[in-house]
Symmetry: D2
Subunit: 370 residues, 4 copies
Amino acid sequence: MTDKEQKRVKVAIAGATGYTGAELVKLIVGHPNAELVAVTSRSYGGEPLDNIFPSLRNIVSIKCEEMQPENLFGRIDCIFLALPHKVSMEYAPIFLKQDIKVIDLSADFRFKNLLAYEETYQKHSAPELLQKSVYGLSEIYKNEITGNSKKEGASLIGNPGCYPTSFLLPTIPLIREGALNRQGIVSDSKSGVSGAGRSLALTSHYCEVTESFKPYKVGSHRHVPEMEEVLNQHAGLSSNSSNSEDKINITFVPHLLPMSRGMLTTIYAQLSENIKDNAYETILNIFKRYYSDNFFIRLLPKGKFPDTAHVRGTNFCDIGFWIDDKSKRIVIVSAIDNILKGASGQAVQNMNLMFGMDETTGLKLIPGSI
Amino acid sequence: MTDKEQKRVKVAIAGATGYTGAELVKLIVGHPNAELVAVTSRSYGGEPLDNIFPSLRNIVSIKCEEMQPENLFGRIDCIFLALPHKVSMEYAPIFLKQDIKVIDLSADFRFKNLLAYEETYQKHSAPELLQKSVYGLSEIYKNEITGNSKKEGASLIGNPGCYPTSFLLPTIPLIREGALNRQGIVSDSKSGVSGAGRSLALTSHYCEVTESFKPYKVGSHRHVPEMEEVLNQHAGLSSNSSNSEDKINITFVPHLLPMSRGMLTTIYAQLSENIKDNAYETILNIFKRYYSDNFFIRLLPKGKFPDTAHVRGTNFCDIGFWIDDKSKRIVIVSAIDNILKGASGQAVQNMNLMFGMDETTGLKLIPGSI
Amino acid sequence: MTDKEQKRVKVAIAGATGYTGAELVKLIVGHPNAELVAVTSRSYGGEPLDNIFPSLRNIVSIKCEEMQPENLFGRIDCIFLALPHKVSMEYAPIFLKQDIKVIDLSADFRFKNLLAYEETYQKHSAPELLQKSVYGLSEIYKNEITGNSKKEGASLIGNPGCYPTSFLLPTIPLIREGALNRQGIVSDSKSGVSGAGRSLALTSHYCEVTESFKPYKVGSHRHVPEMEEVLNQHAGLSSNSSNSEDKINITFVPHLLPMSRGMLTTIYAQLSENIKDNAYETILNIFKRYYSDNFFIRLLPKGKFPDTAHVRGTNFCDIGFWIDDKSKRIVIVSAIDNILKGASGQAVQNMNLMFGMDETTGLKLIPGSI
Amino acid sequence: MTDKEQKRVKVAIAGATGYTGAELVKLIVGHPNAELVAVTSRSYGGEPLDNIFPSLRNIVSIKCEEMQPENLFGRIDCIFLALPHKVSMEYAPIFLKQDIKVIDLSADFRFKNLLAYEETYQKHSAPELLQKSVYGLSEIYKNEITGNSKKEGASLIGNPGCYPTSFLLPTIPLIREGALNRQGIVSDSKSGVSGAGRSLALTSHYCEVTESFKPYKVGSHRHVPEMEEVLNQHAGLSSNSSNSEDKINITFVPHLLPMSRGMLTTIYAQLSENIKDNAYETILNIFKRYYSDNFFIRLLPKGKFPDTAHVRGTNFCDIGFWIDDKSKRIVIVSAIDNILKGASGQAVQNMNLMFGMDETTGLKLIPGSI
């Protein structure tokens, strides 16, 4: 490793007092080639960060600032926006103009199709950036993020949602290779409560969550258009040809787990006709081709399936699958830590790629044994 | 209510020191028309039951006996067998011969198809009882359980598994009415840990379960043949015509939840061609026709979905559904308490029906607010 | 049982949409001799109660009303006030004037000493009722609650706090009998999160509670004056002789448990000089004298200690103790369900006593096996 | 940092498949100056470690060996014994003879007083090592562990129990400085379930632990003699003068928390007569004198108290305290992660000290935000 020679990336984190923001703080503090220069917070301006997160005592000594972009000019190379949708789109252009790279954890820069974004969220105030932005699903868009001989790397990342990350990593390779029927794909996802953030809500109230399990937003979750846009691109279907018979429409049901961290997605699909004998090996080979060289994707051995506990506190995405040979149906299971690979971990992975570092720098997190 | 006039049913519970056995004890103790005469236990013979379950102190004063059938003859009207598979089939014939009604919570009397049972479990020592036994899915087999003008009620109940209960209650009406495509039905089920019982296992060890969520027995759970046999019967498909193209093969993936009680099943299927406009109302009407008069089935209003917390500690099965009008796919969600409607509660409901009582007697359990 | 002959008590519950209010609803709905006439709610006026608590579907069909006392006149015999401190003291006199019995779950009528109340809470608007009110620690104040030959029973109950219930039940007998040193009594209490109610707060946010354990309000909890006032009365020390050297000052530290229901209090004290040999039996005999005839107090056998799981969902208070023979220090452990014996269960027990019923009516709750 | 120049310590871990063993594996794998050479396991000899702990996939590639000391000779500088009591004492002498340093996580080398050990555990087969062994409470015995100008550092560490660590760190300074009465010290401790290890037991069975809180081994826990021996040494009381009136006898009650990791100890004591005015500052100054230069001890600001969540996944011990000025009673609260500062983390801290490294090397673990 050439950590010593690497220039340290100067980083600010906007929205540091939510769960994803705080996790970014911890990752940057432990990162050998990054330096935490500033953290901003709407609610806690002026307060030491370890007042808000006492676990950080002796580890971070920094005060929250009110967000004033001009105060950060010249001090930072990169800013993470762990801000609500709509707020991010206001700040991103300001920092980009100063050649500060932006990694946005909201949905504001995840879409290419302006219409899809605006139908799902609200009017976009910086639509010209949508084409410039790179979707930060690191393993899939690595070339676009790092840049290559022909073009520069990304300066603006739309960091994926947690559900899309857990769904797209296993499905994109199979869709690209024509291994799945495009119709009837089901994504049954289960998320820990931290995905709902630190804002108070009855649905995150302890007594309402513990010993409870339930679906929510059945048929109407905002991550569906994100997943469908990306998957259709990889299927070679323009997002504008909206009345295409062939377009992928997934059935997605998110559920809330009585635990804080972890996301597991169980995907059901029909193998396409061209997958004949040796279906298991064929699928396995596709996965290997895409992911063998990717540290954070762990393909499990035959007969083994992911467990959120095995990825807790790490940036891994574990993938296992099973094929019913008779019916040629496939069940794929993926697990991530929703705050890490599903948010802040992947954001730092993207920072590593954008600044020419090994993608694992500062991210070889060792999970707890329990 | 005519509780006073009702003769009290004299009850024994075999295997009273497992979770389903202990739950039976509590239900019978609180039942106005039943009397707990004896409890048996292999491990705790001679011990007072409230030594093993201190929560029962001041509530039950009874000692565990070793199982000796002849000691129970003449003392009881009914026995619940909360015993392992294979053990139940040895005892059931002995009690039946004495005109003692048997409600078996193992899998031993759930199948009509001997072959299917023997492939899934082991050789059956009382195969002649399979046709005599009634599958105790109370709402569906009520006539067979109570008996009617033409014939006597059941004397032997094969009480359904928890997964089958949560899956079959919502699907049988739709399959009977031809509302679903028979191919491609997916059951994504999630169960609390109590379903694994009180026997020690690493998979039930606290530190391995908490903050963990995972699928298990993907493609190989023993409840699949049980679900398929029953569903195919209702589809009018003989279980013997095993190479029928049309037979229902479900894709079933059970998952383990980090909580003790509760089961939620999310079912994905394609509506059949004959469901045209007003699909939601059509399906709702089918459900109403089957279940409006059944106290324990709660059909949720449009847009509402079950939560295991809402059925915890009760014998309810809550059902909600959503239809994607474009693709005509349906998502049905059911929730039960796996120990109650999924085991002991339904067993007592069956006892009520067998002995001519209102099915809700002793089962109007009020769930805790939290 | 002579349930049928008993006139049914007509009941209203004010503040029915908090946790203690909802629990009262469930207890009254399941009570053979009570009838739920009305429920009030500030936040949910006009809404069916089972919209707010879907677990109540098919069980209760009642709409929340805005609190308008005159609308309740003539319709009810008894009202439970599950309201915040200060709100209760405004309503209690209004109902009492109409001969409606009042059971108040706030702190407003727990104190005899006005000064102590006002120092701890705020100015009292109905101080004349403090002497009339009976402290609803059912087992200890049973005579005052039921009334006896000489005088009428209580019409106003100040229902005890959960911490005081768990602390006072084991200590009052020992203090009355002079078995404990008055100095140096320690109460180390641990409560489930439901004690903090249904109002949103970061301290009840799921991710902040799970896998967390901490003390709070060390040295400043509002239940301390309540415990000290009552205990000093039983020690024969007037609450006004405030500079008495001999007055009991307890050291009380409450802690928050990562679970929803249950409270366990570990009490440390020095046995007084007059407890000589056979300390264990002497103490046991005191407990037996006070509690043998009280269904809800379970004295555990030597060497056994309470577990919150054993009282969950019940109105029991389990008590166990240990004496270090060398040092003559005693450790007493008590466990209750904080929502039941610590709040709504004890409130219904008090209603039973006030209306001449057996105290266990509607309260023989069978705990879940798990 | 001069990590590069530091010779890497070659390490074996015996008993790597329990929770403390697995945690050691992870700490050593992430340690910049240590190298994991071998892991042993009685139950899993020959199996890859990441079969047993799938979270380790891609992180550790090592197979479990059967314990054969001679196979390790020459390959390692240091061995951690994460073995049961009695097993450790057999192996320790064998490795010491080969100049391999031994850090033992069992109780076998924690005692100086052979009698106390044998009364609490069993006959000791290597009693001559008790005087040579250093009690690995790192902050207190730093000089003995590192060695100093006069003498060599430790070659054998008896790593402290988790309860003793959480109790002794806050009490030793106060006892040494005569700030506490020696009589009547109470330690009310609460531990997560992982403290009971990975062996199956009903008391670690998920359904028995969740929503349950209880004391256990009241008056008889094996950590009491360990705590008393150490504390009495610091009080200047020989462990042999066993009938000294003045000897410290603590009252210790451990409780089991429904969570996996974390330990919180609430200590109650009387300040000694010589603590007059400014008691808070006096005590604070003692703590500062002992601990200001110790990275892993975090003294919390006035009015703040520890939370196990704030130390989860770290080697910190957080300490807060409160004094009742009237009664001069002190309440001290400490929190640790029982697997880290309470076991494996402190063991690695001791390794660092034994091999001349900064004690924080490889231990600046960043806690999760949640």
